[in-house]
């Protein structure tokens, strides 16, 4: 059970071309998406949303060279796509199946972020605080407490920015425990497309002044409600 998830990508990588050809400061973002079977009806909206995210970020040339997206799905936990800067990104296609092992997913995400940060340091590339963007439509089916604690340690240390977005069936109290002090957002009526546009808009300031120090994000108008 403990070893149910696996990382399929080798940890050791040769010095990548992406870090040499593009020395911009990076903003790594892990999209941690629940693709359990209950998501089947919405999976197309999520896939569309990924395309929107890419297309919108491509409008900002500097942001497209700074933001790096990785995709993880849980049910079971898989790294679906490793970090790629948006200007070279082809969003993958997600399919729905399986359970909701959120704890394992978070652990793996933290691990992936460590690996990526080490790669940045190796290449002498500076980076912003990495984002984890968790979207779920249910309650975890595994032990999530240890993972939530580890996430909280990282958040308090200033190591990551944690965002949680839940749909109707999601357990808000659990999400809140993970993303503290940032409250979880409840997604309205499966507005995944709008959610991804909002994500893009929130990432674009990476190319402008005053990004990173204190994130001053817009209200999730039109697609979600903050769960205080």
């Amino acid at each position: 059970m403990a070893k149910e998830y696996a990382v399929d990508f080798p940890e050791l990588e040769p010095l990548g071309d992406d870090m040499f050809l593009n020395a911009e400061r990076r903003c790594p973002v892990i999209l941690l998406l629940d693709t359990s079977a209950s998501m089947a009806d919405n999976i197309d909206a999520v896939n569309d949303g990924l395309q929107l995210l890419r297309n919108d970020l491509m409008q900002d040339s500097l942001a497209s060279q700074r933001v790096e997206i990785a995709l993880m799905t849980f049910g079971p936990v898989r790294l679906i796509q490793d970090f790629v800067t948006v200007d070279r990104w082809l969003p993958p296609r997600l399919y729905a199946s399986g359970g909701t092992p959120m704890g394992a997913a978070l652990e793996t995400a933290l691990q992936q972020i460590q690996i990526r940060k080490r790669a940045y340091r190796e290449a002498g590339i500076s980076y912003y605080r990495p984002w984890i963007w968790l979207v779920t439509d249910g309650a975890p089916t595994d032990k999530w407490h240890p993972a939530a604690e580890r996430v909280q340690t990282e958040v308090l240390r200033g190591g990551i920015e944690m965002f949680t977005i839940g749909t109707d069936n999601a357990d808000t109290s659990i999400l809140s425990a993970i993303s503290r002090p940032r409250p979880p957002v409840r997604l309205r009526e499966a507005k995944y497309r709008e959610m991804f546009v909002w994500l893009s808009q929130s990432l674009k300031p990476v190319s402008r002044a005053e990004f990173g120090a204190s994130l001053d994000l817009p209200e999730p108008v039109g697609w979600g409600d903050i769960q205080a």
């Binding site: 990508f9 040769p14 980076y127 120090a213």
Partner: protein, 649 residues
């Protein structure tokens, strides 16, 4: 009214005239830039939020305008007012084809969009940036927020600074502060400070200027971003705060330069300026004017690499630093420009001569083995025809013998007995004809087999086939020479694919098979493949998938398409190129090949003639030795054929 509600189509009042907002062009942190309808020379910047101090600031700036300020910045031309007379934005010069500094210095972006720019271009852009900052400082301004997005560069490396409205300026002894800044470019003393209460100074600008010059000269690298000596996190802002200049030679810092970057390609005086700019004493930061002089000095000491004319570098380095970087295994940072010495001449004339030669030669392969089947059947004599024909109708013979025999056995009729005798007598000529034909047929088939064997040997003979094969080879060579450009390109593509295979593989490994876009076939198929070891796009290949049992060709095709799409995404940059020496090696090889091909074509007619003569000799020998068999064929063929035809009828 919130100014940001103004959008396309709105009419706003300027100083002398009104302007209608056109299409949105760009969006910044403070405001949005629109085109102005009917005007190609100006644009309008509209603020997102209203600020009552802006009007006085903009009016003061417009009043202060000089030619010099217009040259180095997009200085405000006129404030813009909404219906309630509040200032919501301003008019400035339109800078359409100018690019932000980051797209000038970022390697991949430069190689993709401006492949011909050399390091000399980057030096000139840095120098011009220093001039802009110098002129603004001369006018007692502080830029405050100078960054890679608001420094614009044109095709001739001219530089202009936009967002002039955010400059810190004193008008009528009132200070209008600069309220923005980008933490990566702010000096340590400003990090964490509130811009509202801080008076910005030219010393602050000097720090930002030095960072931008560094990034321009050193391939987009930030001077405070390096490789930590221990495996620890060193956030960029913290490094700036603590003065951890990654390239310093004078101080002990916990981080060093990134792999493959050694700034010894910069002359010492410039490296010194950087040490001063990023050292702890803010008073020692070099002025814009000092940068100008040093960079101008550097320009006088630039030279071209003899190996690659697009490698412009400081002459103080022993070897060309860009070649050295390439040798150390980095990617080519500048396009390799190798003179493609004259393409091989067209080979049309040579080919025509080869064709003529071929046409005038006897065509030995076109004469065929004589076959008796092609002969005219002989005209048989009457009795032969009669008995031959009747012989094929065996039931008549049967009854002709059987019925009289019956009668004789029963002792019924002497007539029957005499008929029987007649019939048996008639059998004698029939047997004779049959036996004679069989004999002839044997002889004929023997001769035929002998001929067949001879022709087979002749066909396999080198000289005949070589002639034909050689002719085809010469045609291929001619086609290569005529489309030599394309041929070289194909060879280059192959060389690139070999060189960058590891990079491609690592790109493909980023994409898990579980998210392959394979249309309607769905996740179960993918999961099954995944579980049998096909984890990522790098595991998909024509040959590899063959062994994944039970996969339909549709799924295989869909997976291949998916991989191909990812591959094109990988190759969608021209940053993956050959170095000058690799390019030269390739061209030399190609050129040698072209010479060989030309020589072969020149010698073609003679060679074909020789081959043809050899073939002709063989042919004569064949004809001589086959003569006896052919005669036999002539002799027996027609009559045997006649019998065959008769039998079939």
């Amino acid at each position: 009214m919130i100014p940001s509600l103004f959008g396309s189509g709105v009419l706003l009042a300027g100083d002398r005239t009104e302007y209608r907002l056109g299409k949105k062009i760009a969006e910044g942190g403070e405001g949005i830039v629109y085109r102005v309808e009917g005007r190609d020379d100006i644009v309008a910047k509209i603020y997102r939020e209203f600020d009552f101090t802006r009007e006085a600031k903009l009016r003061g700036m417009v009043a202060r305008a000089t030619k010099r300020l217009h040259r180095v910045s997009a200085w405000p031309l006129s404030p813009l007012q909404g219906p309630d007379s509040k200032t919501v934005g301003f008019i400035m010069q339109r800078l359409e084809s100018w690019q932000p500094l980051h797209s000038v210095y970022q390697v991949k972006h430069r190689l993709d969009n401006y492949p011909n720019r050399t390091w000399a271009f980057l030096v000139r852009a840095s120098r011009n940036l220093a001039v802009c900052v110098h002129d603004l400082h001369e006018a007692d301004l502080v830029l405050g927020d100078v960054n890679e997005s608001n420094v614009l560069v044109d095709d001739r490396a001219m530089v202009k600074i936009i967002d002039a409205d955010s400059f810190q300026i004193e008008i009528d002894s009132r200070l209008y502060p600069c309220k923005v800044g980008k933490s990566e470019l702010l000096p340590p003393e400003l990090l964490g400070a509130s811009f509202k209460d801080t008076r910005r100074t030219q010393e602050h600008d000097r720090f930002s200027l030095a960072i931008l010059i560094f990034q321009t000269l050193v391939f987009g690298r930030h001077p405070f971003a390096g490789r930590p000596k221990k495996d620890e996190e060193l956030p960029l802002e913290a490094c700036i705060q603590k003065g951890y200049y990654a390239y310093t030679q004078q101080r002990d810092v916990p981080l060093g330069p990134p792999p493959n970057i050694d700034i010894k390609f910069l002359p010492e005086d410039i490296r010194d300026l950087f040490e001063r700019a990023f050292g702890s004493d803010s008073a020692r930061r070099p002025s814009a004017n000092e940068w100008f002089s040093a960079l101008k000095g550097l320009e006088d000491q630039l030279k071209s690499c003899p190996e690659n004319s697009s490698h412009k570098h400081w002459m103080g380095t022993g070897k060309c630093p860009w070649c050295e970087m390439e040798e150390r295994g980095s990617f080519p940072v500048f396009r390799s420009s190798v003179d493609i010495a004259e393409l091989p001449e067209q080979s049309d004339q040579l080919w025509k001569e080869v064709q003529d030669a071929r046409q005038n030669l006897p065509l030995p392969d076109q004469f065929e083995r004589p076959k008796y089947q092609d002969f005219q059947p002989a005209e048989l004599s009457g009795p032969e025809k009669f008995f031959g024909k009747t012989a094929t109708r065996s039931p008549i013979w049967f009854w002709a013998i059987f019925l009289p025999m019956q009668a004789v056995l029963r002792g019924q009729s002497p007539l029957a007995a005499s008929i029987l005798v007649l019939v048996v007598l008639a059998l004698i000529p029939y047997a004779f004809f049959q036996a004679r034909n069989q004999l002839r047929r044997r002889k004929l088939l023997k001769a035929d087999a002998a001929l067949q064997k001879m022709w087979l040997q002749y066909g396999a003979d080198q000289s005949v086939q070589t002639l034909n094969r050689r002719y085809e080879e010469l045609r291929d060579m001619h086609e290569v020479l005529n489309g030599f450009d394309e041929y070289v390109q194909q060879a280059r593509k192959k060389a690139l694919e070999t060189k960058y295979r590891p990079q491609l593989e690592s790109f493909l490994r980023k994409y898990s098979l579980l998210a392959a876009d394979i249309g309607p076939y769905g996740r179960e198929k993918l999961s099954a493949l995944y579980d049998s070891g096909y984890k990522t796009a790098a595991d998909i290949g024509d040959d590899k998938l063959k062994f994944a049992g039970g996969q339909s060709s549709e799924i295989r095709q869909a997976l291949m398409n998916w991989r191909t799409t990812l591959e094109s995404q990988f190759w969608a940059t021209s940053a993956y190129s050959l170095t000058a020496s690799e390019e030269r090696q390739l061209l030399n090889k190609m050129r040698k090949q072209a010479l060989t091909f030309r020589k072969a074509l020149q010698e073609g007619p003679e060679e074909l003639r020789r081959l043809s003569e050899e073939a002709e000799e063989r042919r004569q020998r064949l004809l001589a030795s086959s003569k006896a068999y052919e005669d036999e064929l002539q002799q027996w063929g027609p009559s045997v054929l006649a019998y065959e035809r008769m039998g079939r009828r």
